[in-house]
């Protein structure tokens, strides 16, 4: 066990480097996510936010380094993990209903060859109701709005009943009502002691949503509790010379009463 990454952390990333075709995308990423936190990964486009998430989940091979889930490799801890991919990562024309998609969250417990039965369908329906779209259970997924599709993905993660939730841009391109519903749901998960890790792109909402923050631009610029981490200096380092954006952020910072 590495002394700097003790096993009480739900996610500990040690010296992780990832490259596509020998071009580095993440460089020496090293961080700990504290237990029971609602954490955000924030950074400019192309900073490697989604890549970090995927590398932690073995979806992309790491060139070097490793990610540990409660001190053990991810492969041994699958039961503790739920994953919400980016909405665009799947084809929403796929011929299945919202309930079918949510029921996919039960497949792991079912195991090979067994079909879903009434229990699984009920679980799926309950999860859909929890995210507020129970009445759309039988709707084909292409007939759902973007926000509703995101809720379907969220419901699927709920069905998995995990300890740690990995979410890739859950707020991307959803309406305000859905965004509110999602954050309330994440907060309630958090209140039940679950750890939630979100890739996020909207700086204006960072300090309202997350209690732990990772600022990423190919490497970790800063990581820690949001109040200490979400500073002008750190943001400037993360976003470089994009001043227009920084001014917007400065405004956002003022609004929430932080330096």
């Amino acid at each position: 066990m590495r002394p700097e990454h003790p096993p009480e952390f739900p996610l500990a990333v040690h010296d992780l480097t990832v490259a596509y075709h020998r071009k580095p995308v993440l460089w020496d990423v090293d961080l700990n996510i504290p237990d029971g936190s609602l954490a955000g990964i924030v950074g400019p486009n192309g900073a490697g936010k989604s890549t970090l998430l995927k590398a932690c989940l073995d979806l992309i091979p790491a060139t070097s380094g490793e990610a540990l889930i409660y001190g053990k490799p991810y492969a041994e801890q699958r039961d503790l993990i739920a994953y919400v991919p980016q909405r665009e990562s799947v084809d929403w024309d796929f011929p299945v209903s919202a309930q079918d998609v949510v029921a996919m969250g039960t497949y792991r417990k079912l195991g090979w060859f067994k079909r879903i039965g009434t229990t699984q369908k009920k679980q799926a329906l309950a999860a859909l109701e929890q995210v507020g779209i129970g009445h759309l259970a039988n709707r084909q997924i292409s007939q759902l709005s973007g926000g509703q599709q995101q809720r379907v993905f969220l419901a699927r993660a709920l069905v998995q009943d995990a300890q740690i939730y990995f979410m890739d841009e859950p707020f991307a391109a959803v309406d305000a009502a859905t965004e509110q519903a999602i954050i309330e749901l994440l907060q309630s998960l958090n209140a039940r002691g679950k750890t939630v890790l979100c890739v996020h792109h909207d700086l204006a909402t960072v300090s309202r949503y997350f209690d732990h923050l990772v600022l990423l631009n190919m490497r970790v610029v800063a990581s820690g509790p949001t109040p200490e981490t979400f500073t002008r200096e750190n943001l400037q380092k993360t976003y470089g010379g994009k001043l227009n954006l920084l001014d917007d952020v400065a405004q956002a910072l003022k609004n929430v009463g932080r330096p």
């Binding site: 020998r22 580095p24 190919m218 993360t238 470089g240 010379g241």
Partner: protein, 319 residues
């Protein structure tokens, strides 16, 4: 082996054909439409058959137009099914070309009694027989310079392809990399698309009789793909794929004559071996190229230049 004028002629035809295919093939590759080459080269069959049934002869012009039209129709039908039926492009292409090929097959079988048109000929071609049909280019008392008729046809196609690409180089490049930008700049990407498809169809048709569609598909796809593994700059990409094409034709013919003897077998068809040779060259590039398998897992990663320097936060303030 004995080196004869026949070998020279076969290599000449194969090389010209490889060059003619590799040119439009590069742009097919960049537009991620390599399989269109496969589809079109199968789908010209009904065009050939119908042209033959109408004209009753194997006169090249009729067959040429029939097949070229069938080729362009493949692209058109695929586009329609993709757009109106909201079907994925690969599936649409598969449906269109199998349907056309099936129609062609039936037409040919139906008229098999009085037609000397063999579907096998469309696939394999008859590269070995091209030296039998020679045209005299130039004749003096001492010298007689003859080339296969097929070489002239394919040379004309090659010239046509060079001309089109030289004329529309900028447009093709833009339409391949960024169709939406091309559209806003008034370059009509759809027009470029169909021009490219016409080039592919014409090249297929001009080549099929001599070399068969196997070579056409292979030369459309493999040399550009090989070059793609070696370079990222477009002019060098085109040049490299032309070199790979020529090498394949040369190596293909040599190995078709020499290799089987090593196994104690009779010599085999040059067109099959030319396609195989492109595959070998691709394999070499895949394994040993600058991004190849040999390099992928070896050596240190270079530290990226634009990495944020965490130790000097002051430096950034200046921006």
């Amino acid at each position: 082996m004995n080196w004869t004028a026949n070998d020279l002629h076969i290599i000449l035809v194969g090389t010209l054909c490889a060059l003619a295919c590799a040119l439009p093939g590069t742009f097919l590759l960049l537009r991620r439409m390599s399989m269109m080459g496969d589809a079109i080269s199968h789908a010209v069959l009904p065009g050939l058959a119908i042209a033959f049934l109408i004209s009753g002869s194997r006169a090249s012009w009729w067959m040429f137009f029939g097949a070229a039209i069938a080729g362009v129709l493949t692209a058109l039908f695929t586009q329609w099914i993709t757009r109106f039926g909201k079907v994925e492009r690969g599936a649409a292409m598969g449906i269109v070309f199998t349907t056309l090929f099936a129609i062609g097959l039936i037409l040919i079988k139906q008229s098999a009694d009085h037609v000397d048109l063999d579907p096998a000929c469309v696939l394999y071609g008859a590269l070995e027989y091209t030296p039998l049909d020679l045209v005299t280019l130039f004749e003096t008392a001492e010298h007689l310079i003859q080339v296969p008729r097929a070489a002239l046809v394919i040379a004309a196609t090659l010239l046509f392809n060079i001309l089109i690409i030289a004329l529309f180089f900028k447009e093709f490049t833009l339409a391949s990399f960024d169709p939406s930008l091309a559209k806003t700049q008034g370059f009509r990407p759809m027009l470029m698309h169909y021009l490219l498809m016409t080039m592919v169809a014409v090249t297929t048709v001009a080549s099929f009789e001599a070399v068969g569609s196997i070579i056409v598909i292979a030369m459309l796809i493999v040399p550009p793909a090989t070059a793609f593994l070696l370079t990222r700059r477009l002019p060098i990409l085109i040049a490299t794929s032309l070199i790979v094409a020529v090498l394949s034709a040369l190596l293909g013919h040599l190995s078709s004559q020499a290799l089987p003897h090593l196994l104690g077998l009779p010599e085999t068809t040059s067109s099959g071996m030319m396609a195989t040779a492109t595959g070998v060259l691709f394999l070499l590039a895949w394994v040993f190229g600058p991004e190849g398998l040999m390099r992928q897992n070896s050596g240190e990663l270079k530290k990226p230049e634009h990495l944020i320097d965490l130790d000097e936060p002051k430096a950034l303030e200046k921006h």
